[in-house]
């Protein structure tokens, strides 16, 4: 994918994601080729890829998207309850005076709770979970093996917890874990980081607080099925167009910024839940309003997600 064409123009990104002439790109071909070449068991990776809408085309894409939307919709009352019940208390804990690991204490447990409630299975994905690395083109062999094992264990856990589900329903729930984990953790953590960098948990700057300011999903790839004009240049059919969703981060308009959740039939299915989460977090941050300083922050080395590996905070009484 190194020969992908980066697209930063907001109008072109909207066009690419909104047209049927640009199709999703497989997330499993690389795993399959490497698995065959090295006689590696990547069966779980290949199986779950058949449930991930953004890796599927045509009717398969629409069907997977519809099934996953139904799971999210069916659990919306429960997830909303988690948002209202848990977040204020979790924020209050995070903002007690002292040193805090934001990923370990807040972001990862919250995302586990939300996705767990959505799929109907308690989730305990660790800080270094590999489930979302399925989209990576650069991870080595050990991590692929570990990912395959992690996916198998997660699939078995879903089957054990929800024995009435068929294979397709289990696969869809597994796909939701993959889609939600790093995307949500990255978006949440990076947006919290921009707030805490201001020195306060409740900065007086709507550009930081009204909605997410950063995304954990910096780009999305599409293949041009026909020749297409991008940023004034003709791109031939077969070109991989890399829409840099992170380009929306620079807008002061929250409505524009929220477009990093995608467009039309490619809008992130977790968008509504993510926005509920942000509103609840803001309530919690406003209530506490303490002085904070970010003592350590570093993004994980990752070719697909922007997600902190380290995010530590010192909280002081204001």
């Amino acid at each position: 994918m190194s020969d992908a064409v980066n697209v930063y123009d907001l109008g072109d990104i909207a066009m690419i994601l909104g047209t049927a002439n640009c199709a999703p790109v497989s997330c499993s071909d690389g795993h399959r080729i490497i698995g065959n070449h090295l006689d590696l068991d990547v069966s779980e990776i290949l199986a779950v890829a058949q449930h991930i809408p953004l890796c599927l085309r045509g009717d398969a894409h629409l069907a997977a998207r519809r099934r996953i939307a139904e799971i999210i919709s069916a659990s919306s009352t429960q997830t909303r309850a988690v948002v209202e019940r848990e977040i204020t208390a979790m924020i209050a804990d995070l903002l007690t005076p002292g040193h805090h690991d934001v990923m370990q204490e807040f972001v990862t447990p919250l995302v586990n709770k939300l996705i767990g409630e959505t799929v109907g299975v308690p989730l305990h994905l660790s800080e270094d979970t590999l489930v979302s690395r399925l989209f990576s083109h650069t991870i080595g062999i050990s991590k692929r093996k570990r990912m395959n094992t992690e996916l198998r264990e997660l699939r078995q856990a879903i089957s054990a917890e929800l024995p009435h589900l068929n294979d397709i329903e289990v696969g869809d729930r597994l796909a939701l874990c993959i889609l939600g984990s790093d995307a949500m953790r990255g978006t949440l953590a990076r947006s919290l980081h921009t707030i805490f960098e201001s020195g306060s948990s409740a900065p007086d700057d709507p550009a930081l607080t009204e909605t997410y300011s950063k995304t954990g999903v910096p780009f999305i790839d599409r293949e041009a099925l026909e020749s297409v004009e991008i940023e004034g240049q003709e791109r031939k059919a077969g070109t991989i167009l890399r829409s840099r969703l992170e380009a929306f981060e620079h807008s002061d308009d929250p409505k524009v910024r929220n477009r990093f959740f995608g467009f039309g039939i490619h809008t992130c299915l977790g968008r509504t839940l993510a926005l509920q989460v942000w509103r609840q977090i803001q309530k919690g941050l406003d209530e506490k309003n303490v002085a904070v300083s970010v003592t350590a922050f570093a993004l994980r080395k990752d070719d697909t997600f922007h997600i902190p590996e380290t995010f530590e905070l010192e909280v002081h009484l204001a």
Partner: protein
């Protein structure tokens, strides 16, 4: 501490033996520092090398990190650093 250079050379030889020129293989066998591009390896060969090194040394490597190492010496130094950080 295992002999990292020996392990890296062995991994490269295994992947390169049927694709590289005699001269490049001789350089590799002699353990001299040379440009790894001379081996003419493709991405799947690199995966084979990564798997070999990961298994022998029980470490995790990423493809882009390994691809960035242009010479044998650089690759050995990189792998040594990975072993040291584990």
């Amino acid at each position: 501490m295992p002999n990292i250079k020996e392990i890296v050379v062995s991994a490269l030889l295994e992947a390169a033996e049927n694709v590289s020129t005699k001269e490049a293989l001789a350089n590799l066998g002699a353990g001299v520092d040379f440009d790894l591009a001379e081996l003419g390896l493709e991405s799947l060969h690199k995966m084979q090398i990564i798997m070999h090194i990961e298994e022998v040394l029980d470490i995790e490597l990423d493809i882009d990190d390994v691809s960035e190492q242009e010479t044998l010496g650089a690759l050995v130094d990189f792998v040594t650093g990975k072993v040291g950080s584990n």
